[in-house]
Each structure stands twice: as C-alpha cells, then as structure tokens.
Amino acid sequence: MTAEYETHDHDVLIIGAGGAGLRAALGALAQGAKVGVVCKSLLGKAHTVMAEGGIAAAMANVDSADDWRTHFRDTMRGGKLLNNWRMAQIHAQEAPERVRELEQWGALFDRTQDGEILQRAFGGHTFRRLCHVGDRTGLEMIRTLQDRGVQMGIDVYMECTISRLLKDGDRIGGAFGYWREQGRFVVFRAKSIVIATGGIGKAWKITSNSWEYTGDGMALAYGAGAELKDMEFVQFHPTGMVWPPGVQGILVTEAVRGEGGILRNKLGERFMEKYDPKRMELSTRDVVARSIYTEVREGRGTEHGGAYLDISHKASDYVKKKLPSMYHQFRELADVDITKEPMEVGPTCHYMMGGIRVDAETAQSSVPGLFAAGEAAAGLHGANRLGGNSLSDLLVFGRRAGLAAAEHAKTIDTTSIDSGQIEEAARDMLVPFERKDGENPYTIHRDLQEAMQDLVGIFRNQEDLTRALEELEKLKARVGHVGVEGSRMFNPGWHLAQDLKSMLTVSEAVTRSALTRQESRGAHSRIDYPGLDATWGTKNNVIAREGSAMTLRQSPVPEMPNELKQLVVEEK
C-alpha cells in the first residue's frame, strides 16, 4: 500500500499555536523565513487562552524595588535550584521587553493610577509582579499574538495533528500528520521544527488541562531521538474546583489568593499558618498543594474533600471586577456566589515543569534543527514553577526558538525524507481500523488516568511507583489492541487512540524519573524520602530512547557563576 498525502514546504514549521508557538512564528517571520503553524484545535483555542492570573515580568510599575535579579532569585528558589540558571536569567531579563511588545501590538492590560501596566501579587514572587487583565490574561495574550500573526501572514494549519517527526539522516526533516476534519494525511517538509505543544495533564484524572494536553510534543521529540529532562516534576495546582463532580479539576486562579483570598479547613482554621507562616496563602504551589492535601487526609477537609478558599471579605464590586471569570464560573457551574461564600478547592494536575531538553540560548534540542519552547520544553522552572512564569516563558523562549530556528533553516539547502518513514507513519495511524474487536480507547484512557492519579500523584513512594510501571506496561499492551469505530472523518475515538501512545510514553518517563529521584524536592514528594538530598540537588534526570527502550541517566545541574550564586543564597 502507498499512503496518499499532501505535501507542504516550510523553512520553519511550528507545532502548536499557543503563546509559545505564535511567538516563535513571529520571531521566525521577522527573519524572513517561510513559516507554517500547525495546531490540533482552531486558532485561538490553545491552552494559553485559559490562563487567568497573569504574566510575570519585573517591570517595577507597582513595587519600584523589583528588578530582574529578584525575579531571577524567586524563580531559582521556587525551582529548588534545579533550574537551568541561564534560562532563568534570560527569562527574568527579557520578560519586561516581551510584555511591552505585546502592548505595542494592541494588548490592553489593567492599569495603575499613573497609566502604567498594573501588577499583582502571586505565590513565591517577592514583589507585585504579574501583569494581568482581570482573570483573563491568557485570552488577551493569545488574541494579540494571533492578530499580529494574521497581519504578518503566517500560514496556519488548523485542526491538524502531527503524529510523527520525520528525519533527514540525523537532523530534522519534517513532520507527518492528519487533518482532523477529513482524516487525510499530510507531510510537512521543514528545515527547522519548533515544538510548542504544551503539557501532559490529560494523563491524570483530576486536571485543569484540556483534551489537547496529551504530551504529544514530548513524545514526538523523544521518538525522534531528543532527550527529555526533569520529567518527575509535575505541578499540582493547589486550587481546582472539587464540586460538583463534572467540574472537578477546573482551575481556580491563584489570583484569588493574590487578591487576598484566605484558605481555611472545615474547623475554620487558617491552616497555612502551620505550613508556611511567613508566606501563608502566597507560598509556592508545591507547598500549598501539599498543605491542602494533608488537611484533607487528616480529616479536616470540607464536605467534598477540599479546603475553603474565601474572598468574600473583599468588596463585592472589587471581586467582580478583578476576578470576573471566577465569579461566573462558580455562580454558573457550582451555584456559589464567591462574593458572599467561600469556594471549595483542592489540588489539580496543572503543569509540566519537565519536557524537552534544550539549549538555553537557542532552545535547540539534542536533535539538529529541532527546537522546543513553552510548556513542552524543560529547564526554566526546575522542580516547581511560580505562577505567572509560564506566560512570560512562552514569550521569551518562543521568540528565541523562532529566531534560532530561522537561522538554522538558512544553513540547510534542501531536505529529503525517505518514503519508508512516511509509509510507516501512515500504517501506524490506520491499523486501529483493522481490528474489529479492538478495545475502546476511552476505557484505556480512563484506566491510565486512574493509575497516574492514584500512583503518581502529589505524594509518591517506591511501592506505588513500581506498581505504576507495571500498570503502564499492561496499558501499552492494551493500546496495541485498540480499535476504532466509524470513518476517518472527524473521529475523536480515532484521535484518542493515537494520543494514548504519547500519553503512555510521557507517563512512563514521569514514573521512571520519579522512582529514581529518592528525595523530596519542589513538586516531587516522596513519602519514603521526605527531605531534600544534597547530592540529588546537583542532578537532573534525563530520559532518552535507545532502540525501543527508555533509558535514564543523570546529568549535572549546570553551575552558576559566582555573582548569580550570591543572589540566590537563602538569607538566614
């Protein structure tokens, strides 16, 4: 059988149309490259649209003492020093310029009295640092980038999913995918590829993430020979909705706490006094999530197994103005008026600190021509991400990836892809249709989510993680027998059958890394190894593929220059 497909040529192909992908596209376009952007949903619907609280940048509009050094220090400390220091430095230095640029492209942030961009407090940030638009910052950001992209003439392939990267020898050559609408195949030939596909939250049962978050980009890069890093660090956001069941996991923005929200248990105790008396509700996310979890486990949880989060002491108009979407979300989905009563909240799987290992300056992975930015890449956040540092990450490293990808493309004359790779990719996609008694992909997905939720959650131990690996092996075997009904036309069951493969690869990387790291650091908490371990503090876990086997090694955390070391020493 020869597969039928259409072909497109680009200097730079960007997989993903969230903040990172769109900013990368603008960067590459500015270099004169022919750019294509591919995304699974419609343009403007990527995860970035859901971001609420804000974008972190040391602009010092509200607290004049803020500068990049403090932002750098906060980021490194929040990440428990596992971060790539150079990425943290670049991020802190460049974020303000990237935010200003958004404003110059038409974004309208909330304002200070003097007409500057307003900034709010967030967990782990020393100063009020998050530029925001009420609680819909991500919408403002993605629209601004999208409009700018349309104006500059990017080619967008919407509702098109990449299922495999194609190589030209050792370097990247292109990508294979399918149109969701008709199910037809498509091949992109590209001199450079930027992966900006976001995270993996859909592998957990309780999550703030959408159907798109199946770890595709990480699995694609891994399949093409790139390394993954820090995969044990999965962020559980402390405040997701817990009731009613259908909304379980939906995010309650940290801005509620940034604006003064208070956490209490069912006894009315402000329990953060016990866990972090200095920073209280605005402690880092790992700490707050574990605190809520512990309160619930020890029997002090609310009726539906969460904690109370209360903002009703603030004036009703203020709450509606600064947190409008939270107000509507609770009123419409949970029958709770947050200006009058507390919300019930609990931890939800939210963000992946780990991802594709990249060079700090250029965002290039270990595969020549393959770049990565945004949530799909690793390094900036170390063991725990601070709120607001993702949106700024997308802009800073999205731009750098786009520029470097365009530069790389200039060094390549032509790319050629042998048809064997394409045939294999097509066959992989089509086999589920041939299995008449194949298993329902939704059932396998549910079982995966349960395994990851129960065994690779907020608190981990050797026994659970070992069991998780066994479960994942069984699930892999089941995915080998997955079947799909219906035609190739817009068929979500078929799409899920494909996404399951990425989810399993990435879940395995998470579990193996978590099993290896015998300490608790940032978002990774081992009940059997509760403390920080100094030797583990100098190592990152790195995952790579050898043949069909997943290998794990440790690589030393790059050492900071002395002047930066000075910045991060903990004051006594």
């Binding site: 949903s41 110059q104 038409g106 309208l108 909330d110 609408e181 036309m489």
Partner: protein, 245 residues
C-alpha cells in the same frame, strides 16, 4: 440513577438525523459532560469541539433544545428532563460532522480588518477609565454564537456583504483603543456592511461573555459611519429624533 434522554444530530454535509442516547445524570452536570459520556460509552466517533470546559475558549458552541449555547455552561438541571434534550450544530455554518461546523468563514472575515496601529511617537500611557470600555470587547471568546443567531447571516445568507456582530465587536475594540490611529469606518460600511444590521439585539442576548454588542459596539460604530459618510445635518436630525423616542 436518574437518566436523561438526548437526541443528538449525527450526520455530515450530505445530511443526517438525530440519534437517541440515554445518559445517567450526576449533580451539577452540564451538556458537554453528557456528550463526553456518550462518546466514551456509546458513540466513540461522535464529533464535538471543546477545550477548556469552563466557558473560556468558545469551542463548544451548539444548539441545545434549539437555543444557541456553550454546552460546557449549560446545566442539565436547568433543562426539562421529561422530554428528550436535543443537541444540534450551529445553524448558520455548514456542518462538517455531527456537532462540528465549518467556521472558517469567520477567520476569513477577520483578515479584512486592519490591525492596531499606534499613533507614531506615542507615549505608552493609558488610564483604566480609557481602557475599560475596550476591555469589554476584548472579552470575546470567539464562540460565534452571535454570528449564529444574527438573522442577516442566518436567513439572508449575506456572508459576502456582512461581517456579523463578532467582527463589529472586534472593530469597536480597535477603533476605541486609546492609542490607535487608524479609521476603519469605510471598511465597516463597504466590506462589513454594518448598515444591514437593524439592531434586533439577538446577538447581545446570546453572548456568553455578556458583551453589550449592540449598545456598546454596533450603535457607536454606526454613528461613526454616519458621521463620516452622510449628511451631517441629517445625522443631527436623526440623533434628535432618536433621543425623543
């Protein structure tokens, strides 16, 4: 457990018909939850769009019992359960499959609109009172429900001459941006056909973001067009008449 009966449109460009599904009801359930249940247990190939499940992305638009809604924000306990709940695709756009429609026309209209262009040498200062009204328009999540109900698009199929409420909201956001320097009135009149809107307010009624599309976007834009292109005297007369009504 209590059950609801759903009649969901199944079909494609060539036609289709409703299929019946039974779904157990859980507390606080929304229509999108029911559609997911149907996918997982009865029809794995049921085509729908969704992303955020929280009213933030504007992907999950459809008609529930004939009313245009975000399915992720339509609570089952607000619907009568003694008869079947019908779910059909948005009517103004061609069906691709099941509840998924071809909304690409909207992306093409969007391209006609000249982008933000700051005044040269401008100082980047803006005050909250000046951005407030524009921020209202920028809340738009592009669910296209307003496009779906507007009779100019729905019944008269004026898609070539008329941009529709979503894009009046977008133009209003640009025109009222405190630092923008461009005028888009000619495009409003000639290419987006704002004159065809007869202010029925159907768009405003369905907007999940509660944007006052007609009062705050369309009417002020119509006034700008009139100001620029028609007899200023006639314009005054109209204004006075309007005020006396």
């Amino acid at each position: 457990m209590a059950e609801a009966i759903f009649e969901v449109f199944r079909g494609n460009r060539d036609g289709g018909k409703p299929a019946t599904y039974r779904v157990p009801i859980a507390p606080g359930m929304v229509v999108l939850d029911a559609l997911h249940y149907i996918q997982a247990h009865q029809a794995p190939d049921l085509a729908i769009r969704w992303n955020c499940k929280a009213g933030k992305c504007g992907s999950c638009s459809a008609e529930v019992n004939g009313r245009p809604r975000l399915t992720c924000k339509t609570r089952m306990d607000a619907l009568p359960l003694d008869k079947a709940i019908t779910v059909t695709p948005m009517k103004s756009f061609p069906v691709i499959k099941d509840l998924v429609t071809d909304v690409s026309w909207n992306y093409r209209v969007n391209k006609k609109i000249p982008p933000f262009e700051p005044r040269p040498g401008v100082e980047w200062k803006m005050y909250q009172r000046d951005v407030d009204r524009v921020q209202e328009f920028r809340k738009c999540i592009e669910c296209f429900l307003c496009q779906n109900v507007c009779h100019v698009l729905r019944e008269h199929e004026e898609k070539e001459q008329f941009g529709g409420p979503r894009f009046f909201v977008r133009v209003a956001a640009l025109e009222m941006h405190p630092l923008d320097s461009k005028s888009r009135t000619r495009i409003l009149k000639d290419e987006l056909g704002i004159g065809l809107c007869n202010i029925t307010k159907c768009c405003t009624e369905v907007c999940p973001e509660e944007i006052h599309i007609t009062d705050n976007a369309i009417i002020p834009l119509k006034e700008r067009v009139v100001d620029e292109f028609y007899d200023p005297v006639l314009f005054l007369v109209r204004k006075i008449r309007g005020a006396n009504k």
